[in-house]
Amino acid sequence: MFFFELINTNAVRINQRLGKKMEKEKDRVPLITEIQRYCISDGPGIRTLIFLKGCSLDCPWCHNPECKSPEIDIYYHEDKCQKCGKCIEICPQRAISWLSSKKEAILRDREKCSKCLKCVESCPLKALEKVGQALAFDRIIDEALRDRAFYETSRGGITLSGGEPLFFPEYSLKLLKKFKAEMIHTAVETSGSYKWEILEEIAEYTDLFLYDIKCMDPTMHKRFIGVDNKLILNNLRKLSAVKANIRIRVPVIPRFNNNKENFELLVDYLQSLENPVLAVDLLPFHNSAEKKYIQLGLNYAYKGEPFMEKKEVEWIKDFLEKNNITTTIGGIIGPEEV
């Protein structure tokens, strides 16, 4: 009883295609996967996170695979499915079929799927779920301002996340401007892999950048993610020069970046910046996204990879702190800084 994937989606290819499309449509409107309240590890204090759907990178460990594609996705909750076959009957593209005549498992062809969502509507037990919603701008603002009382006591605010906020430059800018007008602390989680002009404008309305540096070695970077890190590092240097508040986030991934050389290079690089970053947040690898990959019908490169214990990255924290870089594991900042 598996939800088979006929064609293994090449996310890099699709994203490159979309990336080109984005050049033409700078002001495209993102789908939102979630507006998550009471977040405490993505910026200081108590925060609301707005997840924008769409990203141009393709990190194989990504914790939010549902935010990779800018288009609507469909989750399939196999545990809820009673194999009634209604979705097979209703699909106008004939993209869904029985795996075999035993009618024990359902097969879905993602390439054929036109995202008409008729299958989602027809499912009696809500085993199919639409991922990504086109929300009105005002609705996003309204939801994000609801916890204002908590932002005030905890010195929290909102964080644009995803996906990649810079994938939707005009829209992100519009959101940030509105939040600043409402006197709300703003943070942007970004991979930094965009034109400097975009970042420069965003920086004016951003109180804090949560800036990903995945790996210092450009070859490794390209091999794992599909692009090298030149643009990312250059942007960081420029951001530092304009005195942006920056926390560096490093997802610590087994067999990728958890080696001493990587962090030695990181220290050298950070120390060469014009202004120091506020801190480094180490995010040890966890596999809790595996279920989402399965629900989306995507391959998960880290299937079966165990959860990385906090103690496995403590040496990195010690090393960074020895070099006078404030470091957290997990990124809970609490209400008192910034």
Binding site: Q36, R37, Y38, I40, G45, I46, P124, L125, K126, R146, D147, A149, F150, E152, T153, S154, R155, G156, G330, I332, I333, G334, P335, E336
Partner: protein
């Protein structure tokens, strides 16, 4: 006194148990119940209270009932077996052995029969059978049944729409006037009562010209005063028996250190409660003696209603700060408070099966109140407040629970101690908003009756209900009753017929629900069902109170209250600050249900009333798709204005409608939405509900806590929803919150929680309490209970040891915590 700041003590707030406390804790007889049965083998009922009380009653036939009550109490105190355990510094028990608990054979015959047939029957089974038979015509339950018919009896006792009344359960929760014991001593009380008696006798005998209507109030008062005197003198004799026992044991004792301790115990028991307290040792012992009397030996009373830090403060100051009387160090004071906790942890109650079930995991409900403001509005938190919190985090016992009054100037150090308790998963202190509770209290008693100054002395009567404390002004006896609004809704969807539990016409006819044309038709039917139940509980409560005043008086408790002594009144008759209180339950299930029906039936017209009634009657069986639609309809606790507005209107309506009732003393009761552990036991009693809940599943677990699994937007959205209720219409509203164990125990846990609490306070929400547990640990504890004897979880208005709960209850607690992992 120099303020100790958090920074000074950051790393050493909570110290380990002393060796003495450890030994006492290890040898405790816990009286917890699980699935309606006592967990620890060997816990059972003791015969002595029943024996000596019955013996006395047989001898006093024909005398006034209040005198008979006092003499019976004296007979118990003069004859019961007393003991002092090894290592104890604080002494006194309510039964003849530590594993035993006394029976209240005079309150209701149901309980007597229950005990007689249970494994907890006293070893002297024949004797207890005779006692049961002798009391059958005299219990207040028997007497009450003279006034009600068969239908009313069924309504009261089937526990489908209301909790059984006080004359069936014997339930009560007084606030003894501890201050008058501390300040006057019982000798002082006796002097005052003798003066009143003499004055009355003189007036009665020498009134000239005779004024009948006035003078003939005196005999009853004189009986009351005589009873108070009998009781007070007996209590002094009883305490002195402990002094003699301690002295005798000291003579036999080889260890010089223990000998000295025993002599100290003798000195304290010789002194209190007869004379005013000198220092902290006296005050702790006097409180414990008084508690045993008022809430156990004289009659059963639940709770431990007192403002403990304020009440003990003058004596603590003398002993620990000034060192002028019974000098001791701060550490010794912490140990003494720990020993007090251990005393409470061994204190148990023989209860009917119903209460053994709904107090799952607990000995009984003991809630001590601390913090808040002084009568002048200044901060009342002291180092003693912190010590009481520290002792709780040190002892790690579920009982007594603490209620912390949070006000706008609460010191950060006190907050820090509270956090230390909460992050350890104790589930308390439960936190009440002083700035919401005080205006609500003043308003609740009716204009001008309770001053703001008096209201500021409030303490929790039981889990959640605030009431004034002190030498006078505390209502001496209270009793709550619970009503189940989900049953009212169920009845409104079945023309008053209860299909799911009693199979009877439980409520009035409110029309065929399939013919309801509008949402208002449904609301109208609900309102009639609601009022039917609430008139019945107010009636039952008043009848109970009337009979208790005649046949279940508490002369000792009454003797401590200045107002009762002044007026020659029994506590139960004391009418000035009438503090009625009703636990109105399941409102969240009702609100979620109403919202779902409004949306899916009357607005979207996706389903008809006919379909809904059929699906509910079938317990959603065969209607899963429809059930999911109702389950996914807007739910309370997500800051969703659609359902929140329906909920706010429901709470408002339920309050105003309840207040249509006027009780015996002219007061209009306000609701107190809270659930104890009834949300489990009620599951089988409430049929399927339109919020998508099936018959048998639990109800909502608080007063305004979102239904389990329905708060999808996290704790901030929950608080925002809760802030939409009008708390001035409620006596209190219980809110359960779950917080992530890892975050709370990280170094940012405190500042985050503190910020959250400041917002909670600012939003004017009445109450909050926390479960902080790791669900992995809970799952492991289910499999390996032996590894987790001290794992504590918040159940409702109290905490319990996780391993003491039934699997059904444990699963509910786990379900409650799992949704918080996203945090």
């Amino acid at each position: 006194m120099k303020d100790i700041t958090y920074k000074d003590k950051q790393d050493e707030l909570i110290k380990p148990l002393t060796e003495r406390a450890r030994k006492l804790k290890d040898s405790l007889w816990w009286k917890h119940t699980r699935g309606g049965e006592y967990v620890e083998k060997g816990v059972k009922a003791g015969i002595e209270r029943s024996r000596y009380m019955t013996q006395s009653f047989k001898e006093t036939d024909g005398e006034e009932w209040v005198i008979r009550r006092a003499k019976a109490l004296a007979n118990v105190l003069d004859n019961m077996t007393i003991f002092i355990k090894d290592h104890e510094l604080l002494v006194g028990d309510h039964a003849e052995k530590p594993n035993l608990i006394p029976i209240y054979q005079e309150s209701n015959y149901f309980l007597n029969i229950d005990i007689l047939k249970s494994p907890y029957c006293p070893d002297e089974k024949e004797e207890f059978r005779e006692i049961t038979e002798w009391w059958k015509p005299h219990t207040i339950q028997t007497k009450a049944e003279e006034y009600i018919d068969k239908d009313e009896k069924a309504l009261q006792n089937n526990n489908a729409s209301m909790e059984s009344p006080g004359y069936v359960t014997g339930y009560s929760s007084p606030t003894p006037a501890y201050e008058s014991v501390f300040e006057d001593g019982l000798e002082g009380r006796i002097k005052r009562i003798e003066g009143k008696l003499k004055e009355a006798q003189d007036e009665f005998l020498h009134q000239n010209p005779w004024n009948g209507p006035e003078a003939m109030t005196l005999p009853k008062k004189m009986d009351e005063w005589k009873a108070m005197l009998i009781a007070d003198k007996a209590v002094i004799r009883w305490a002195k028996r402990y002094a003699r026992l301690a002295r005798y044991m000291a003579e036999e004792e080889k260890d010089p250190k223990r000998k000295e301790e025993l002599l100290m115990i003798a000195d304290v028991c010789n002194h209190v409660p007869a004379k005013p307290c000198r220092g902290f040792r006296d005050a702790v012992q006097a409180q414990w003696f008084t508690y045993l009397l008022c809430q156990s030996l004289e009659r059963y009373g639940s709770g431990m209603s007192c403002k403990m830090d304020t009440m003990w403060w003058p004596y603590y100051k003398r002993s620990v700060i000034d060192k002028s009387e019974q000098p001791m160090t701060r550490e010794e004071a912490v140990e003494l408070v720990v020993l007090h906790r251990l005393k409470v942890s061994e204190h148990g109650v023989v209860k009917s099966r119903l209460y053994r079930e709904i107090h799952a995991g607990a000995n009984d409900l003991f809630i001590i109140t601390i913090g808040g403001v002084n009568p002048d509005g200044s901060n009342a938190c002291t180092d003693l407040t912190n010590i009481i919190l520290e002792a709780a985090a040190t002892a790690m016992t579920t009982e007594p629970s603490l209620g912390l009054r949070w006000h706008k100037n609460i010191p950060e150090l006190t907050v820090r101690y509270a956090f230390e308790c909460i992050k350890r998963g104790l589930g308390f202190p439960s936190i009440k908003n002083d700035d919401t509770a005080i205006p609500s209290l003043v308003e609740g008693f009716g204009s001008g009756k309770l001053s703001v100054q008096d209201a500021r002395r409030w303490a929790l009567c039981l889990c959640m209900s605030p009431g004034p404390t002190g030498r006078h002004g505390g209502l001496r006896t209270r009793w709550a009753c619970s009503s189940y609004t989900a049953k009212c809704l169920e009845l409104s969807l079945s023309d008053g017929y209860d299909h799911s539990y009693t199979d009877s016409q439980l409520g009035p006819h409110t029309g065929d629900p399939t013919k309801f044309k509008t949402f208002d038709d449904l609301l109208q039917a609900y309102k009639i069902q609601y009022q039917h139940v609430h008139s019945a509980i107010t009636r039952a409560r008043d009848l109970s109170r009337y009979l208790e005043a005649k046949f279940y008086q508490s002369p000792f408790l009454s003797s401590l209250d200045d107002e009762c002594v002044e007026r020659g009144l029994d506590g139960i008759e004391w009418d000035e600050f009438c503090n009625p209180w009703f636990n109105v339950m399941d409102e969240v299930v009702v609100a979620d249900s109403l919202a779902a029906v409004k949306k899916l039936v009357f607005e979207d017209k996706k389903y008809t009333m006919q379909q809904l009634v059929e699906a509910l009657r079938a317990n959603w069986d065969g209607y899963e798709e429809m059930r999911l639609d109702f389950w996914n309809a807007p739910k309370w606790g997500n800051d969703d204005d659609y359902v929140d507005e329906i909920a706010a209107n429901l709470y408002r309506y339920n309050s105003l409608e309840l207040q249509q009732n006027t009780n015996l003393f002219g007061a209009h009761p306000k609701p107190l939405p809270q659930h104890v552990a009834i949300y489990w036991t009620l599951g089988p009693r409430i049929g399927a509900t339109p919020n998508g809940r099936r018959h048998g599943e639990v109800l909502d677990d608080g007063g305004n806590s979102p239904y389990i699994g329905c708060d999808k937007k996290g704790p901030t959205a929950v608080l925002n929803s809760c802030a939409k209720l009008d708390y001035s219409l409620q006596k209190g509203v219980l809110l359960n919150q779950k917080l992530d164990h890892n975050v709370m125990n990280s170094d940012k846990g405190f500042p985050l929680w503190y910020a959250y609490m400041k917002t909670w306070h600012k939003l004017g929400i009445d109450h909050v309490q926390f479960n902080v547990c790791d669900h992995e640990q809970l799952r492991d504890a289910q499999k390996h209970p032996e590894k987790y004897p001290d794992l504590i979880v918040r159940v409702a208005g109290y905490s319990a040891r996780f391993v003491d709960l039934s699997v059904y209850a444990q699963d509910t607690i786990i379900a409650r915590t799992e949704q918080e992992l996203a945090g």
